[in-house]
Structures are given as C-alpha cells and as structure tokens.
C-alpha cells in the first residue's frame, strides 16, 4: 500500500517538474508561436504537423497548452507568495500581540474567509480591472486568511514551549525568536498549505479566464482555451480535451503532493 502511494507521489513530482521545465523553456519546445493564426488550418485533429490539433483560428493547441502552463504556474507562484507573505505577517502579529490587535486582525481574516472564493475573486478583479496581474493579486488576497489562521495557531502553540520561554527570559529580541524558533517550526505546515493552495489557484485562474476576467485573448491560458472550446465540443473535442487534461493533471498532482507532504511532515496525523 505504502509503496503504491510512493509511486504516485513520485509520478506527480515528475509531472510537475516536466511541467515547470516546459513552462520555463516554452519558446524552445513549442513548435509554433502560441498566438499566430493559420486560417487555412482551422479545426485540424492531431497530426504530425500539429501534435494536439488546431483550434478555431488554426492555432497549434500543443503550443498553446505549453504556453498556457506559464500563466497557470506564474499565477500560482505569485498568488501563493502574496498569500504566504500577508498571511504570515498577519498571523505572527496576531499571535504575538494578542488582545485587541489579535481580535481585529482575525475578524478581518474571518470575514474574508466567509465569502465564497470565486465570488470574492470576481469582486476583487472587477475592482482592479481584468488581467493576469489583477488575478494574481486577487487570489493572493483571498488566500491570505488561510495562512494567517495557520500561522497564528501554530505560533500560539510554539510560543508557550519551554525553549521559547527560555530564549525569551535570556533576553532575545522578538525578531530573533520569530526567526530562530517560530518560523522554522511552522515551515512544514505552511509548505503543505502552499501546495494545496497552489492547486486551488490554478483552478481559480482558469475559472476567471473562462469567465473572461483573467488572461485576455489571444494570450494562451487553459481557462481561455476551454472557453473557446465550449462552442466546438462536437466538431473539435480536442480543443477542450487537452487544456482540460493539462489543468486536471496539474491540480491532481499538486493535491497528491500536498497530501503526501502533509503525511510526511506531520507524522502524528
């Protein structure tokens, strides 16, 4: 049973590494520029010239899927970084100060959490304007409460440990305690949360692009590709299948990664 799980874990790592490498070296791998149209080659199924076929503008789907991984991963990395940064600062501030500041910060975070994610994302994006940058910012803000709660809870637990108390009574400044004792101890849980959030981010980016709020045409994005494909499901199913598959696999792999890491880093569970 365990070896079976390990195989899946390593397979997903391999997939994600390949995906990352493809995203980084997209211009080298992709056989065509992702936005160039060839109107004589519309709706062509898989062939040697077009590995995954072409779309309604005769664009190469393989190239678009590869370039699409860039926006998916970029949004994931940037948005999760924003969320981790905001979340950690807020969580630490709340846990270390307690009292009014704690109550206020947590009320703010809880109220953010109480909104349905997609709805909140749409609201934020419609304030900031459409585009990839705005989507990153929106998702970053939306995911920060999860990290804030996590960091706060962990910090509260660690704060009362004997070695922290000892360090404190020896007169270490608070910054040093955070840096030396608290952050290293909560890192594992934060990484697990990152992995899970990453998967969600990819889905939300695709959803917002699907709704026309994220990546703008003709930029390649999996969500946007699915949106275009919706009208040609019967004539050209490959337009939906490949970006859909890329999206599903990426999310699945990040989830497996998160679950496995969670088991490995928190053996108690």
């Amino acid at each position: 049973m365990h070896t079976h799980r390990n195989t899946i874990f390593y397979l997903s790592i391999i997939f994600l590494v390949i995906l990352g490498a493809a995203a980084v070296s997209a211009p080298l791998i992709a056989p065509y520029p992702p936005t160039s149209q060839d109107l004589g080659q519309r709706f062509k199924p898989s062939s040697s010239a077009h590995l995954l076929g072409t779309d309604n503008f005769g664009r190469d789907i393989f190239s678009r899927v590869i370039f699409g991984s860039r926006s998916a991963l970029l949004v994931g990395i940037v948005a999760v970084s924003i969320a981790v940064t905001i979340g950690t600062i807020v969580g630490l501030a709340a846990a270390l100060s307690r009292g009014y500041i704690d109550n206020f910060l947590m009320l703010l975070m809880d109220s953010l959490l109480s909104f349905p994610t997609i709805l909140l994302a749409i609201t934020v994006v419609s304030f900031l304007g459409y585009g990839l940058l705005q989507v990153m910012l929106a998702i970053g803000i939306i995911f920060s409460p999860v990290f804030a709660r996590l960091v706060r809870a962990e910090t509260l637990a660690i704060k009362t440990e004997a070695y922290v108390e000892a360090s404190r009574s020896l007169g270490s400044p608070i910054v040093k305690i955070v840096y030396k004792h608290i952050l290293p101890n909560i890192l594992g849980k934060v990484i697990v949360q990152c992995s899970i959030s990453f998967a969600l981010t990819v889905v939300i980016e695709a959803s917002l692009s699907y709704l026309g709020l994220g990546s703008q045409p003709p930029d390649p994005s999996w969500g946007l590709m699915l949106k275009d494909a919706r009208n040609y499901l019967v004539q050209a199913p490959w337009m939906a299948i490949y970006p859909g598959l890329a999206l599903a696999l990426t999310v699945l792999c990040f989830n497996i990664l998160g679950d496995t890491l969670s088991e490995k880093l928190n053996p108690k569970l």
Partner: protein, 503 residues
C-alpha cells in the same frame, strides 16, 4: 441501529418515484411552437429600451400604425391608410375599425395620441424619443383619425412609426401607469401568458386579432437558451422547433439531421471595425486606409460572422440605398505596409482594440483583425470589456482607438446615417459636406431624390474610411421540417409568427 431507517427511507423514496413516473400525465396536443431565444429581454415595454431582444419578442404582442412587409416596404397595419400633405408638414392616419386590445379596450385615436405623448414624455425615458421629436402637435378630429403635425418635412418618420418602438398601447392603462415592462397589453397576435426570467416566455393566441384567420399557432413557448450547443441539440431531438442565429460551425451537424432544415438569408447588419478619427494617429487617412487594405474581408466574414458579403461603405448589402464601393480598398497587405511607412507608424505605436466580450462573433473577429493587422506591422492590443462599459466608454465617450461592432439595419437610411460627419458619432469623423447631405436627405421625399443625396454620402464615407467596412453577414435560421412560414421581418430582424404553422 441506523441502517434499517436508511433502508426504509430509500425504499419509500423509490416507491414514490415509481408512482410519480407512472402517474405523469401526457400533455394535451395543442399547436404549441417551441422557440429558442438567445437571451432574456430586459423589458417588454416598447418605449423603455433599445434592446433587440425586446423588439423581437414584442412584435407578437403589440402592433404599430404601419409595418414593413417581407420586402421591407412599409404597408398599413393599425392604420388602414395615411396621407401626407403637399408641404409634408401634416400626416393624417386613418385607423382600422374593430381592433381591440388584449384587455378588451377598443382601439381609437385617443390611444394613439396617448402613446405618442408617452414616447415623447421625458419621464418615460424612451431611447428612441428623438426619432419622434419633429412631431409638434397631435390632433384627433374623430375616433379613427390621427393628425400629426411636424415642424419640418421628415421622411424617416414613417419608418419610426413602423418600428417596434412606435408600438401602440391602450390609453386607459397608460394613464393608470400600468407596468407594461412585465405585463404587456397590446393589440398583437399573441398575449403574454407568463414570463419566467432567464427561462421561458409563453405567448398564447389572441382570438380577437384584427387579421382574420391569424395567427395560426395556439401557443409559442420561447425558451431562453444562451448556449448554442443546447439549442442545436434541442433542434435535433425535437424539443426546439425553431432557432435563429445558427452558427456556421453548427451547420454540418444540423444538416445531417433529417428533421431539420436550414434557411439562409442576408441580415441587415453592417459589420465594422470602427476607427476613432479623433485619435492623433488615426486622424491620418493613410493609417485608416492601411487598416482597410490589411483586412481580408471575406475571410473574416467566413470565420466570425457565418459568412456574408463585403460592403465597402456604411450601408447594409441588401438595402435599396446600398452602393458598391468594395473596389476602393481591396485586401492588399503590401499596400497597407507602404501606407504605414509613409505615415511613419510602426511597432512603437500601440492601438487598443476594444471588444464587447458578451458578443462572441465580435470577439472572434477582433482576434482575426489583430492577427491581420500585426502582419502588416501594426501593434494592436486586445481589450475585452463588458457591454455596459462598451456603451459608456466606447460608444458614448469615444475613449478607444479601434473597436468591433455590428450596426443593426434600419427601415430608413436616416436611421443608419444620421449624426455621421459630426462629432456626435463615436467614430468622431468630421465632414461637414456629409453631415449637410444627410440633413438634406431627411427633409426630401421620394426614393430617387433621396438616393441621389445618399449616394454622395456613402461615397464620401467609403473614401474617407472612418470604419473598416467588413460586410453584411448571413443569418441562418434552423426550423424543424414540420414548421412552415416562420418569418423574420426585413431590416428590423423581428420574429413574425403570425403565418407560422406546425403540422
């Protein structure tokens, strides 16, 4: 302990389901037509919107004094005839007798006067009120005669009276401030039975309709289906009898179905890539000419707009006033590049191309335009905007460089051309000569006299290219084989179910 309870609940639910299936009554056979409508009308009040969906729907509920026939000629409707005085300042309409509204009120001249007063009343806020602004007095010498006094000869007035926004409402309900938007009451062939927003509009036959023997259908169910694929599947399976605006990509599937026939006709749309002439760079006619040369019009029509005919000027292809100027700026990328080099426009100038994201064909066309313009060396960035932003920023405030839109056909050419040549129109193209000719053509009567003036206007517009004129697109309507005589009113593109039958 819990297991047996669950089991019993399941058992009972299954039994109930079985009973429900067995007792489901088969619906009675009435002549009900299932129609696929692309979206929800915002209101059913003819005087409070400019929405196409509203006018398409209310054509079956209200009537107008006159109406276009299938050839686009304006023929009598609620008015059995009319006269225009020698000086063209007095229009006299003689109403049909024996017409009744859905609520039982008899149609008289007082209803017509009350209706026009309502349209021109600022409080109504009719977006079409300006078309009636030349009316300075309405007199009703008797119950069935209406006299309109106009301040200057106004040829386009008859077209406004024949369009959906001139629909006649009963005086009694107007005075009672009845909510026509939700509970329309007119003299039309069908009566609204129910309207479930975003789902269904059900119309039933008006047995007292003034055209004898019409309508032939008992009921129309308009299903609001925004998804193309759903209406296509509905047509094939028989849940939908008629769907309009069939996409060209769906034709092969529908053509393989033995139960569906496709009717192709020319729409009255003028599909364009609009150019903001107040933009410091697009002010240069060479840049606008280059844009016209850069676009392969037929290809864009085929890909984005279900194919069609290129036009070359600002008038729809099937219009009697149309004149062919397509030879002026043929597809010629090299010429486009030369013109751009002359004008000194290169990669460093970015043009924002605004696309209304709820109109898929325009977004599709926009993507092809961007590609074609890029190929002649222009730097074009696409910006998707929602419809209300498009209306406020692009159409009203002219804060754009390029945009893609389709102008709907009008019964009178003045409806298409009025305001062009002045800063009032969103292309901000200034040409006093064109503006003057358009103004003169409004006051002149007689087709030949007006055509002479419009010919010159269209020639100026064709040469000066405030637009990249793409063409008029085809419209494909799919009907099941058992449906006959489903009509679409020319120019207005409204649905006419009066003659429609279902075998």
């Amino acid at each position: 302990m819990k297991r047996p309870i669950c089991f019993f609940v399941c058992l009972i639910l299954t039994l109930l389901l079985g009973i429900a299936i067995m007792t489901n009554p088969t619906p009675a056979e009435a002549k009900a037509l299932n129609f696929a409508l692309r979206g929800n009308p915002d209101t059913l009040d003819p005087h409070k919107t400019s929405g196409t969906l509203t006018f398409q729907t209310i054509k079956s509920i209200y009537d107008t004094l006159a109406e276009p026939d299938m050839n686009g000629k304006i023929v009598p409707a609620l008015a059995e005839r009319w006269q225009v005085s020698e000086d063209a300042l007095t229009w006299t309409f003689f109403l049909k007798k024996g017409v009744v509204f859905h609520n039982g009120d008899k149609l008289t001249a007082r209803d017509v006067k009350a209706t026009f007063d309502r349209i021109m009343d600022k409080a109504t806020g009719s977006p079409k009120a300006k078309e009636f602004k030349s009316i300075i007095g309405i007199e009703i010498p008797d119950d069935f005669t209406v006299v309109l006094k106009v301040k200057e000869p106004t040829s386009p007035l008859l077209a406004s009276l024949a369009s959906g926004w001139g629909a006649i409402l009963p005086k009694g309900l107007i005075e009672a401030e009845h909510d026509f938007g939700n509970q329309p009451v007119g003299t039309g062939p069908f009566v609204l039975k129910k309207w479930i927003r975003d789902s269904q509009i059900v119309l039933v036959k008006n047995n007292n309709y003034w055209m004898k023997g019409l309508p032939k259908l008992d009921e129309i169910s308009m299903h609001i289906i925004p998804e193309r694929a759903v209406s296509v599947q509905g047509l094939i399976s028989g849940q939908i009898d008629v769907a309009y605006l069939i996409d060209i990509e769906d034709l092969p599937i529908l053509e393989t179905s033995p139960d569906v026939k496709i009717e192709k006709s020319m729409s009255s749309l003028i599909q364009v890539l609009s150019i903001n002439c107040s933009n410091p760079i697009l002010q240069d006619i060479r840049v606008r000419q280059a844009i016209n040369h850069a676009i392969d019009k037929q290809k864009v029509l085929d890909i984005a707009y279900n194919s069609g005919k290129p036009i070359g000027t600002f008038m729809d292809y099937s219009n009697a006033y149309y004149k062919d100027f397509t030879a002026l700026y043929p597809y010629d990328p090299e010429k486009a590049m030369k013109l751009l080099a002359e004008a000194g426009v290169g990669q460093d100038t970015v043009f924002e191309l605004f696309l209304p994201q709820n109109y898929e064909p325009h977004v599709k066309a926009g993507e092809v335009y961007q590609d074609m313009l890029t190929k002649v060396g222009l730097n074009v960035k696409i910006k998707l905007v929602d419809w209300s932003t498009w209306l406020s920023d692009v159409y009203r405030a002219a804060k754009y460089a390029l945009t893609v839109i389709g102008h709907t056909g009008k019964l009178d050419p003045d409806g298409t051309l009025s305001g062009y040549g002045t800063k009032d129109r969103y292309v901000r193209w200034i040409n006093p000569r064109a503006a003057e000719l358009i103004g003169r053509a409004r006051k002149v009567s007689g087709f030949e006299n007006r055509k002479r003036l419009y010919d010159e206007v269209l020639e100026i517009m064709a040469k000066e290219v405030p637009f990249m004129y793409l063409g008029s697109s085809y419209r494909h309507t799919a009907v099941r084989k058992n449906v006959s005589d489903f009509r679409m009113t020319p120019k207005l593109d409204t649905f006419d179910f009066r003659w429609t039958t279902l075998d």
